[in-house]
């Protein structure tokens, strides 16, 4: 492996790793940088890594917890709804002594962030939802994640499948397969039977009374851009940033997306 390949692979080098016990569940939190805190909630898999956080960390402290059932955090099969994740994070944020902070999330993490904001908007300054899932949009249904074949996954993740493929191991890797299976299992506890999201989310999104940036890949096949207006029509203070030519993994595919979110948080 040459050095260039090493740099493009996700790495947690330079991040600080801390373990917390949240009501009995081991919760690993990575952080990088210093400044006003922004918490980032990852999507349904941790393999894409968190390279984008290095850009945000220029002037912010970026806090990245692994969800229970994902990455290096522990498992708890009693966490089987987004609301359980919201309560888990409520406890973690208390432990982290985060009073008022910015919250960002991608994909499934954006769903958790949106539900957190519905219930605890008073603790948030700003909200970033990137390629968010969770809102059921009848006119523009999202594909059922669980039905996507492994071989088709790269073309769903990024507009150029090569970008997603570069995040996968080059050789078959049992650890990678087992981690993916575990994370998909954790995700399935929440939404196997509701892959479109929470049917009640739209009923309550008006409570997200904080400035909210939607970062959306123009060619996102997981959450088709056609659904963006369903979010902006119910959020009280939304702004939509469409990233041209980019798919679902906006922050891995596009530095412009990373910078757009960073700028919004800096305003």
């Amino acid at each position: 492996m040459n050095i260039t390949q090493k740099i493009t692979k996700p790495s947690m080098e330079g991040f600080e790793r801390t373990e917390y016990d949240v009501a009995g569940t081991k919760t690993v939190v990575y952080s990088i940088g210093s400044g006003d805190p922004v918490v980032f909630l990852h999507g349904g898999a941790t393999f894409p890594g968190f390279e984008f956080a290095r850009s945000w960390a220029r002037d912010r402290k970026v806090i990245i917890p692994h969800h229970p059932g994902f990455g290096e955090s522990g498992d708890d099969d009693r966490i089987n709804s987004v609301h359980d994740y919201v309560l888990h994070y409520l406890e973690l944020f208390d432990q982290l002594k985060l009073e008022r902070f910015d919250l960002a999330g991608h994909s499934f993490g954006a769903w958790i962030a949106a539900e957190f904001a519905i219930e605890h908007a008073h603790r948030l300054r700003k909200l970033v939802l990137a390629g968010p899932t969770g809102l059921v949009i009848k006119e523009h249904p999202a594909p059922d994640f669980f039905k996507i074949r492994a071989t088709e996954l790269p073309e769903y993740l990024t507009a150029d499948p090569k970008v997603a493929l570069s995040l996968f191991p080059e050789e078959p890797d049992v650890d990678f397969l087992v981690l993916g299976y575990r994370e998909t299992t954790s995700l399935s506890r929440v939404c196997w039977d509701k892959p479109q999201g929470n049917r009640k989310l739209g009923r309550w999104l008006h409570r997200v009374k904080v400035p909210t940036l939607l970062v959306w890949g123009e060619r996102d096949r997981f959450c088709p851009i056609a659904g963006a207006s369903a979010w902006t029509s119910v959020l009280p203070d939304p702004r939509l940033e469409v990233i041209p030519g980019v798919g679902h993994l906006v922050f891995e595919e596009s530095q412009a997306a990373v910078e757009a979110a960073h700028r919004f948080l800096a305003e």
Binding site: T151, L177, V178, W192
Partner: protein
């Protein structure tokens, strides 16, 4: 050592739909999303007729029972509702037991399943046996049960069925997945307190634990001999630890069997159907990869694959060497069965008599040779050995 005194001989028939157009051979999967436009109801009707006739033949030839299974949305089985198959077989027979192996209880309303089985037991005068499977990964794509909850639901559903069958007055159930204000099966089972129960497993120790905990038998699915023996050792050890003893009928010996005049002829007549079964009917494609279905350490043991990579691939040498496949002359098959029955210590032998797209004449030949040559020879050797033992005393 010969077979055990009270040995029972059963056949297994999986009743596949065998009339798929040959050009479908290249399909990635024969499960879950295979269009039912490929199912010709008239041919299906004829196949049912044939298969029921074969079940009746099993009784006429003197077999003790027939095992049937349940699979969904697949050409590999025409039995998504095996209780209907059992009811039909019971109506056409008078002595044959039917082992329904079976409906995953977490996919049904457990009380309704308890009622269905109780009805079958009463209607048949106590000829029902059941084996409880978790279901293959493929079943979960076509049933409304989140696979990550499958095992917990499975356990709760079994509790409900047992409670419904053993209570002689109205009871209730309030659990994590199911709630019944009143649980009260009418009719109740003919057998007291209920039909014999086996747990179906492919060797995962989690499943063996379940069988041991409930004191049920353990029925291995088609899995390598080494894995079956490992499961058996574990089953014995755990059952003994729990203060009970393993009965010889608790661990059935299931053998894919084909008997003909000679070994060569048997293989020649059998091979194409085994190929059809393994290469074609069993091919699950990506649907085997079901999140939440197995424990992570088990997944790791399997190299990151939910079903073994051999699933859906025919390899005759591999089958001969590692699986319980007895294909050959009467002598060959008898010897193998005798050896394996001893190895397992089982008094319950299940012959898988129909493989893949085997035509009726071969199945009839196979079953007839089993019933008229192999089984009598197994019994003759046992009796001869018994006589020797007595003479020596």
């Amino acid at each position: 050592m010969p077979i055990l005194p009270s040995t029972e001989f059963l056949v297994a028939h999986y009743m596949p739909y065998t009339e798929l157009p040959p050009e479908e051979a290249s399909r990635e999967s024969l499960w879950v999303d295979i269009p039912n436009s490929l199912f010709d109801p008239k041919k299906g009707h004829d196949l049912y007729g044939r298969y029921f006739h074969e079940a009746v033949l099993a009784e006429k030839l003197g077999f003790d029972g027939i095992c049937i299974n349940e699979h969904h949305a697949t050409a590999s089985s025409m039995m998504p509702v095996p209780s209907l198959i059992a009811a039909t077989i019971f109506a056409q027979t008078s002595k044959l037991k039917v082992c329904v192996m079976g409906t995953p209880p977490n996919m049904d309303s457990p009380n309704r399943l308890a009622e269905t089985y109780a009805m079958l037991d009463v209607m048949s005068g106590g000829r029902l046996e059941i084996a409880i499977p978790l279901g293959t990964p493929m079943e979960y794509w076509v049933n409304p049960v989140a696979p990550a909850t499958a095992r917990k639901r499975h356990r709760e559903a079994i509790d409900i069925i047992l409670k419904a069958w053993t209570s002689r007055e109205a009871t209730s159930h309030d659990g994590e997945f199911f709630h019944y204000k009143y649980l009260n099966v009418w009719p109740r089972p003919y057998q007291d307190p209920h039909p014999p129960i086996f747990i179906v497993g492919s060797g995962s120790l989690e499943t063996v634990d379940l069988a041991v905990e409930y004191g049920f038998g353990y029925a291995s699915t088609f899995s390598p001999i080494a894995k079956q023996l490992q499961a058996l050792d574990y089953f014995r050890e755990k059952t003994t630890d729990s203060g009970r003893s393993v009965q010889p009928n608790m661990f059935p010996l299931t053998v894919m069997t084909y008997v003909a005049e000679t070994d060569d002829q048997a293989l020649a007549e059998f091979e194409a159907h085994a190929k059809y079964y393994f290469d074609f009917l069993l091919r699950p494609g990506e649907f085997a990869n079901l999140p939440g279905y197995i424990a992570l350490d088990e997944l790791r043991k399997r190299g990151g694959h939910v079903l073994p990579k051999s699933h859906g691939k025919f390899d005759w040498n591999d089958l001969q060497d590692f699986y319980r496949v007895a294909v050959g002359s009467v002598e060959t098959v008898t010897n193998k069965i005798e050896k394996w029955a001893e190895e397992v210590g089982s008094s319950r032998i299940i012959f898988e008599v129909h493989t893949g797209d085997m035509p009726h004449w071969k199945l009839a030949k196979n079953m007839t040779l089993l019933a008229e040559k192999v089984v009598p020879e197994l019994k003759r050797r046992r009796d001869a050995s018994g006589a020797r033992t007595e003479a020596a005393e």
